[in-house]
Each structure stands twice: as C-alpha cells, then as structure tokens.
C-alpha cells in the first residue's frame, strides 16, 4: 500500500506523518507537493498538520485552492482514502469534503496536551482495527480546533454515525471539562457520509511510538493498512481505488 503526504507551504507535521508510515508502519510513503496535481498513484492521501500558507486568512482557506487539492477532491469523490489531521481537517472542511468548520478554541489559547478520546464507530477504514467505545490517548496541538456545525448538520452526522472521535475524561464520559477547545458535542473527528474521508484534530502520528509516550494513534494507521489489504484480497476497489 502506498501513502502520500501532502506538503503545503507551512505544513509542519508532514515529516512526522511520513516517518510514521515509513518507519513505524513499514509502508510505502511518498511526499506530495502542493503545486503538483500528480498524486503519484497513492492509495491514501494524508493532509498533515501545520499552518498551510501561514493560515493568516482562515485555517485551510488558502490550501483548498492549491493544485494538489483539485486532485485530492477528485480522488476523494472517487472513493479514495483521505486522512486529514489538524490543519488537514481544517482544509477538508474548507474544501467541502467534510461538513462543519473549525474555529478558535474557547480559551483563545493554543493548547498542546494529551487528551482522552472515545472511539465512536469502527465501520470506517480508519478505525476498523479498533473497538467501539475504546479509549485512546492522543495529543492535540492547535489554536483553532473548536468544531462547529449548524444544528441540522450536527443531527445528520450523529444519525449517520459520522462522529468517530469524541473528547472524554479518563473514564470515558464526554463532559464539558474534558472538552479542550469547546467543540460541539465534544467532537474530535468525523468522516464523510461515504466514510472514505476522515478529519480529526488530534495527532495520531504523534502517538505512534512507545518511546514518545504512546502508541494509540498507530491503531488508526494500522486500520487503514488492514482495510486496504482486506480490500485488495477481496479484489474490491470500494475502499481504495488503487494505482
């Protein structure tokens, strides 16, 4: 399986995502450049964390207009796997590939800390190796991670089981105190209706090695790999459109 990690000008966690795929997961990883339309035949595109184009306008607002995003949008519409982390999640919302938006944290401060997350649904290629209701500890680091959507969108994504991760306390309850940024319904990550585009504010690539404090994030990468392998074995292209 081949992964592509996009570098926008201002991407910061692109090297980290490449490192996890390449050195920890042991899969094939290639860098994709924002000015190129070529996705180099990858099976999953990662939109990494950082501050694309400086994020001086609105987070992700410039990146969605980059040449690479034209191809990523096409790829996603054809069922390709897209994994947007932090700034990548913001870009996906700006590009209309995921519903809702991310605004400034309730505290108005940047926050870097480990959070507890409850895994709400395993019926996605990004979480198929996890257990429903399991708690993951993964860091967040953002200034604009407060997820918002209008009431009908919110109702829809809940009904369709598109909410994949929620901020919870150590015992798994989605309390206001466990919400680090003010996100509606403690939402930390969602998928699109077709379940092939995933956006989350926490950084699973920063929770992929025991030496660096935990491996919970690696499960999401392993799920994608498992989903791809399973899809390839069954000869389907529904999960990954392939090379």
């Amino acid at each position: 399986m081949r992964w592509g990690v996009v570098t926008f000008p201002g991407s910061n966690d692109d090297h980290d995502a490449l490192y996890v795929v390449d050195h920890v997961l042991g899969a094939d990883a290639v860098a994709l450049w924002h000015k190129d339309r070529d996705l180099k035949g990858v099976d999953c595109v990662v939109l990494p964390g950082g501050f694309s184009y400086g994020d001086y306008l609105r987070c992700g607002a410039m990146a969605r207009f980059s040449p690479v995003m034209e191809s990523v949008t096409e790829f996603a519409r054809a069922g390709g796997l897209v994994f947007g982390i932090c700034n990548g999640f913001q870009v996906l919302c700006e590009a209309g590939l995921l519903p809702g938006a991310l605004i400034r944290n309730r505290s108005l401060q940047f926050v870097c800390t480990r959070v507890h997350l409850r895994l709400e649904d395993t019926d996605t290629p990004f979480t198929c190796r996890c257990t429903r209701g399991e708690l993951l500890t993964i860091p967040i680091k953002h200034g604009e991670g407060c997820y918002v959507a209008d009431p009908s969108t919110l109702e829809q994504i809940e009904q369709n089981h598109q909410v994949i991760l929620r901020y919870v306390d150590a015992s798994g309850r989605a309390t206001p105190d466990a919400n680090p940024n003010g996100s509606l319904s403690n939402i930390a990550g969602i998928v699109n209706r077709q379940r092939n585009v995933f956006g989350l504010m926490p950084h699973p690539e920063h929770a992929a090695e025991k030496l660096l404090g935990g491996e919970d994030g690696l499960k999401l990468f392993q799920s994608v790999l498992a989903a791809y392998t399973e899809g390839a074995r069954q000869g389907t292209t529904s999960v990954a459109p392939g090379h």
Binding site: D13, H15, Y19, C112, L212, G213
Partner: protein
C-alpha cells in the same frame, strides 16, 4: 567617487550612540569624517550589541575548546560532534528590550532570530528552549507581558514547526522595569555539511534571499539593545521588528534544500543590524571585501534611502555567498518556495565594504576598522558598597515556621516554584516526533533519529544567588544545568550562555559581570564542559535601576543510549528514596527566606565543584547501569519541595512518600534550604547495595530517606499533606494569578 556631501558632526555621532572618543577614533582610522550612511554603519557595528566592546576581553577567558567541539564562539552558533556522523548546533540569545516594548512581536522575533542562527549552519532545528524573567505579579504590566511573551514564543515556534521543549520562568520585582526573554535553539547537522559565514572567492555573487526589506527595526541593535530605558517604553515601538513565521518556515526549508546542492560558499542570517552586519561579518571572517548594490535589494516600500536599507532589521532574510555560476540553482530553489532571491553584490579582494546606490558610491569603509578596529574596553569594576550588608545573615534572627505544612504549600504556590504547565501547554512540544521527555521534568530529552542517541536540554540561572554573589551564582547556574541533564540520564556536553546585566559603564555592574564570567569559567573547567556560543545583553536598566545579574546557562547533554532517559517523578510503591549529597545549614538567597521573611540576604549556597562533579558522576553511572527509576535535582524550595515534585509532577494520581529523617541542623534549613550538589533518586531496594558501592568509590554521601508509598507526602513529624492538595496548590498557582 564617494558621496560625502552629507558630512556629519560629533553631535550626529552622539545621536547614534557613539561617544566623542569613539567618533574621534573613527575619523582617525578613516583619515576623514564619515558621511551619514557610514556613520549609520559604524553606529551598529560598534554598538555594544554587535561589537561586544565591554565584554570581549573577558569572554576570551572562557574555555571554548574540547575534543568534540567543531565550532566555538564567533560563528552563528556553536557546534559539537555527537558521533554517528552527526553534530548539534546551538545558541541562546536575548531579546529583552524588544519584548518589554512590544511583548508579542519582541518574543516572536527573538525565536525567529535564534532559529535562523541555527539553520544558517546547515542544521535542522529540532528544539527550542526559553528563559523568561518577569517582574512581580503586583506590578501592573506583568500579566500583560507574560501573556504577550508566551503567546509570541508560541505563535512563532508553533507556526514554524519547531518544538518548544523546555525552559524556565521566574518572577522577581528586580525585573519590573526590564523583563528578560532569552531564546535557545538546537539543530542537528551532518558533520560534513556544516556551513559557515565566511565570504570567500573573489567575484562570487552575494545573494539576498527571503523577505523584502522594510523600514522596521532600524537601530534595533544600537539604540534599543545597547542603551538603558528611560521614560516611556512605548515610544520605542517602531524600533521593534515584526515577525512572519510562515516566511521563515519557507526560508528554513529553502535553505536546507539548497544546502544539499553544491551552490553555497557561505551563508549568514540578517539579524541585528541587518544587511550591514551580515555583510561586514561575512567579509571580516573571510578576510575579503564586499561591494553591495542597494538598487538590487528587494524593498517593501518606495523611497527607502541607503541608510534605511542598510540598517533595516526586517526579519526572515539571509545573505548567501554563492558559487559563481550557481546563481540559477539558488533562484530555482527559492522560487520553488515562493521567495525572493537576488544578486546584490560580489566578493572582492580589496578588504572594503563598498555600497552603491543609484550608481553612486554611498559608503566606502575598510572592513577591519568595522570589526577588529571596534573599541574593546577594560571598564572599571568595583563591588557595590552594600555588599557586606547584603551578605550578612544571622540565622538565629530567623524564626522557625509554626506550621511546616503551610510553609511547604506556600512554597509550592510561589510562581517561581509552581508548575509552569500554564506556559508550556501553549507551546507545541511534540512536532518533529523526537520529544521523549516533555516539559515538566528536570531536563527535556529528545531522540536523535537514525541513531540510538538522545540529547537532554536544560536552561538555568538563579539570579537571586547572582545578586548576592555573582561568582558563586554563576557557578551554580552552570552546575545546576549540568545536574539537570545528568538527572535525565545525559552526560554534559557543552553550554551556551546569555549574560544579562545592567549598564557596564557602572563599576558595580562591571564587577558583577567580571565575577559571573569567572564563575562560569571555573565551573566549566571543573566539569570539563566548553562554552561554544553565547550572547551578552547589557543595559538592562530602567530609570537607572539594573536587573539582578542574570547569566543564563543552557546546557546540552548527550545520552549514548536513549533508553536511559530518566524522569524526576516517583514510579511506584516500595521503591527506596535516596539522597545523594549533603544538606548544610544554609538559607541565604533561598526562596523560603524571600517568601516567608521577605529577605534576599546572605550568601548563596556553598558550592564545592569537585563534590558536585562526583555527585553527578555517581548519579549518571547509576542511571546508565539501570539502577535508577527517578532522579531529581534539589533546587529552589529545597528538599521538601523537591520531594513534593517527585510525588506530583508525573502522571495522575502520583506517588506518595514516607520520609524518616533527622538532622543536626535547623528543621527549616533541612526542609527548605537550597544546599547544592544534591539529587533525590528512587530505586528498587535490591539496587541499594550497588548504588552504595558506586557512591563509596566517589566519596559521595548516600542517605536512604524513606520509601515511595501511599497517597500522602509524610516527612518525619513535620510534614503530612495529601497529594491532591499538593498538586492542586502547585498546578493552580500560575493560572490563578494569570486569570485574576
């Protein structure tokens, strides 16, 4: 033909911060009066900030060599070999005055500046630290300054994608009128890919890359960094630069990409004094000359004069001497990253800085007069008249506390001791995936990818000790920073220092400086640790009141095996708690004395460098043998505070401790005194014998204090507090003050 129409006078020179003697010296060296552009060049190159005229001779006494030192002071950063074909480049630098005038931008551009110093060397920055000193919370500006500085450091570091992994924050009324913001960056470079800033190769193009030049920051180095404050700081806002971390991120990536190609002869960032100092320093180090054509400099606004272009401190700019014929390689890489790259001059063999503007020569100055010709002063030094009174402390006049629990909680509530989580959770300390020990332990630890090695980083200075005795205080800053990296499992490798002092023209300030340099030297020689880079910041005074002397030391340590990294908190019930070192009856300069009696008095703790070295050696040996489960340096607040930190600074809910101790000394000195050369380690009981052997060989006293157990901290009959209460006090102290 040199344009000399705008001849200048001694008064103009004085307005540029040059004394009548210095102006006379310039005229004598040139054989004529400088024109106004040239005066501007002299004003920055001969400023305290750029020329180190008051400190240069003393700094030469510091030990700067060592078998692993690849680059000592004099370049953009120091470089030390760590084996496996890799080296670390690091440096600390002050941005005090800009941060006081405009805290967000001042701190942000401080981070931006030190980052450029590191990637200029060819090193990929992997860690930032900072040392921050603010006035007391009673002062009306303190909260505003703390908020702005922390947001500025985060705003720049987070955006550029370099983790801020550690630092220190102190509050003292001595900084009410002059805060300190010292920023440190470390990068990793391949030993065969180190770049230096020496202009060489006559005819080679001098290229300008990065942001366009604007009118911001003119005279930042000469007038803001090299003079005291008086009156309204707000008036100096226009001399503070504005940072753009996004552009610097592009510049960083473009420079590192370009360095992989065979196109660069040398490279230098444009920091203080901008285009002027980068040009002069590159030519000076290379023994060459440079001719600049200012019409080729990308400018942000119309009508900029040569004077403004030369002295602008616009951020995110670099100067490159490229290999002749490689101009297009440079242009292509920078175009990829959407940055300007322009040939603005050539390397010459005439030893001159020649500046052209609209086909006229507007400056013509011998490089050596600007660099080596700068004045170097042996300024008079004398101890302050009240030194004896300050150092006098009669312990029998200090009453013992009535309730030791309350005293311990009061110390944990002191902003100098309290958890700094409110600060570091605003920094991205994870990006680049190397952070093994996060902020909140004695030292941060990062792995070095592609090796089994790691580095430990700590930045330290207790300026209260330095105010009482700058020699001892500076020694303690060095040994404490070393002790911190040792507690993390690393061997001290080298330091960079940021020497923050008042006005060196005052003999008592010069005495403080002289003593502090002597202290750093003696401690570094004893520990065998070189000083590879640094920065001096004088004139930290407002309305004639100087800051406490603050020689900040940033220590880099090396872990041969990253698996040996150690944290400060207790790990589990049943472990033995052991003290390495001796507790003396001393309270001088302690946080306890300040907090409970309002006194900054006495002499700082006793320091015996040989004993210190042995304590560190035993601790490191025990860690590398795998005996130790936690190691924590004893610092401000003494043994009781250190034990409390061992209990509560790790993951929830923490580990309690039961300590049986008796001493022949006053109980307050036993619990809260700050005797040096002490480390608390915890280990499994079965390893006690081996630890005793290691300690006996080195003559290091070992005391079993007690054991890790339960959910309370119990110290003999004097202290018995629930962990939840300790933790609540310690973690809420800073947010409560910031939010009130």
């Amino acid at each position: 033909m040199l344009q000399t129409s705008a001849a200048v006078t001694e008064t103009d020179a004085a307005d540029h911060g040059l004394s009548p003697e210095e102006y006379a010296r310039i005229c004598a060296a040139l054989g004529r009066a400088p024109n106004v552009v040239e005066l501007g060049v002299f004003s920055v190159m001969w400023s305290e900030h750029c020329s180190y005229k008051s400190s240069r001779r003393l700094l030469k006494t510091l030990p700067t060599r060592g078998p692993s030192v690849l680059q000592g002071p004099g370049e953009n950063a120091g470089v030390i070999d760590i084996g496996d074909g890799r080296a670390v480049a690091f440096k600390i630098e002050s941005h005090n005055h800009p941060s006081f005038v405009e805290p967000y931008q001042g701190a942000a551009t401080g981070v931006g500046g030190i980052l450029r110093d590191i990637f200029t060397m060819g090193a990929r920055p992997i860690a930032n630290l900072n040392s921050l000193r603010f006035g007391s919370f009673d002062h009306p500006r303190t909260r505003y300054l703390v908020n702005g500085v922390v947001a500025g450091i985060g705003g720049y570091g987070n955006s550029i994608g370099v983790p801020t992994v550690g630092g220190e924050v102190y509050f003292d009324p001595g900084y009410n009128g002059n805060i300190l913001v010292n920023a440190f960056t470390l990068g990793v470079v391949r030993t065969d890919k180190i770049f230096r800033a020496r202009a060489a190769g006559v005819g080679n193009p001098v290229m300008y890359v990065g942001s366009k030049t604007g009118r911001d920051g003119i005279h930042g180095a000469s007038l803001l960094a090299s003079a005291e404050f008086s009156g309204e700081a707000e008036e100096k806002r226009p001399t503070v630069q504005v940072g753009d971390p996004f552009t610097e991120k592009l510049l960083l990536e473009a420079c590192l990409e370009l360095m992989e190609k065979d196109a660069i002869v040398s490279i230098q960032d444009m920091g203080a004094a901008g285009l002027t100092s980068s040009t002069v320093e590159m030519a000076g180090r290379g023994g060459t000359g440079i001719v600049l054509d200012l019409d080729q400099v990308p400018v942000r606004e119309q009508g900029m004069t040569p004077y403004e272009i030369l002295l602008s401190e616009s951020q995110e700019r670099m100067l490159i001497v490229a290999r002749a014929g490689a101009e297009d390689i440079v242009r292509r890489v920078f175009a990829k990253w959407d940055l300007d790259a322009s040939v603005v001059g050539r390397v010459t063999d005439d030893g001159l800085l020649r500046v052209m503007f609209r086909e006229q020569e507007v400056a013509r100055l011998p490089i050596d007069i600007l660099t080596d010709g700068a004045p170097a002063y042996d300024r008079p030094a004398a101890p302050p008249a009240d030194l004896d009174a300050l150092q006098e402390l009669r312990l029998d006049s200090i009453p013992l506390p009535g309730d030791y629990n309350k005293t311990l909680l009061a110390l944990l509530d002191s902003p100098n001791i309290a958890s700094k989580a409110w600060v570091y959770h605003q920094y991205d300390y994870l990006v680049r995936s190397n952070t093994v020990v996060e902020p909140g332990s004695d030292a941060a630890v990062l792995r070095i990818k592609g090796t089994h090695k790691g580095i430990a980083l700590s930045v330290d200075c207790n300026s209260r000790y330095c105010a009482l005795d700058p020699y001892v205080g500076a020694m303690i800053a060095v040994v404490e920073s070393a002790r911190n990296v040792v507690c993390a499992g690393a061997a001290p490798l080298g330091i960079t220092d940021c020497l923050n002092f008042g006005n060196p023209e005052k003999p008592q300030i010069m005495w403080q400086f002289t003593e502090a340099v002597r202290g750093i030297r003696d401690a570094c020689v004893a520990l065998g640790v070189p000083v590879v880079s640094g920065n001096v910041s004088f004139y930290n005074e407002t309305e004639g009141r100087a800051i406490p002397p603050t020689p900040t030391i940033a220590m880099v340590g090396l872990l041969e095996d990253i698996e040996h990294h150690t944290t400060q908190w207790f790990k589990g019930d049943g472990d033995a708690i052991v003290l390495l070192g001796v507790t003396r009856e001393e309270l001088g300069g302690s946080e306890y004395l300040m907090l409970t009696h309002g006194l900054v008095r006495g002499t700082p703790p006793w320091i015996d460098l040989e004993a210190e070295k042995q304590v560190q050696r035993v601790c490191l040996a025990a860690i590398t043998e795998g005996l130790v489960r936690s190691a924590h340096d004893i610092a401000e607040g003494g043994l009781a505070v250190a034990l409390a930190e061992c209990c509560i600074s790790g993951p929830h809910p923490g580990c309690g401790a039961v300590i049986e101790m008796e001493g022949a000394i006053r109980p307050d000195a036993l619990l809260f005194g700050e005797s040096q050369s002490r480390i608390i380690v915890s280990l499994r009981r079965r390893h006690l014998g081996r630890l005793r052997e290691l300690a006996a060989d080195a003559n290091v006293p070992v005391t079993v204090l007690g054991e890790v157990r339960g959910r309370r901290l119990v110290i003999g009959p004097l202290i018995d507090v629930d962990l939840a209460e300790l933790r609540r006090t310690w973690t809420t102290a800073l947010p409560r003050r910031m939010e009130s």
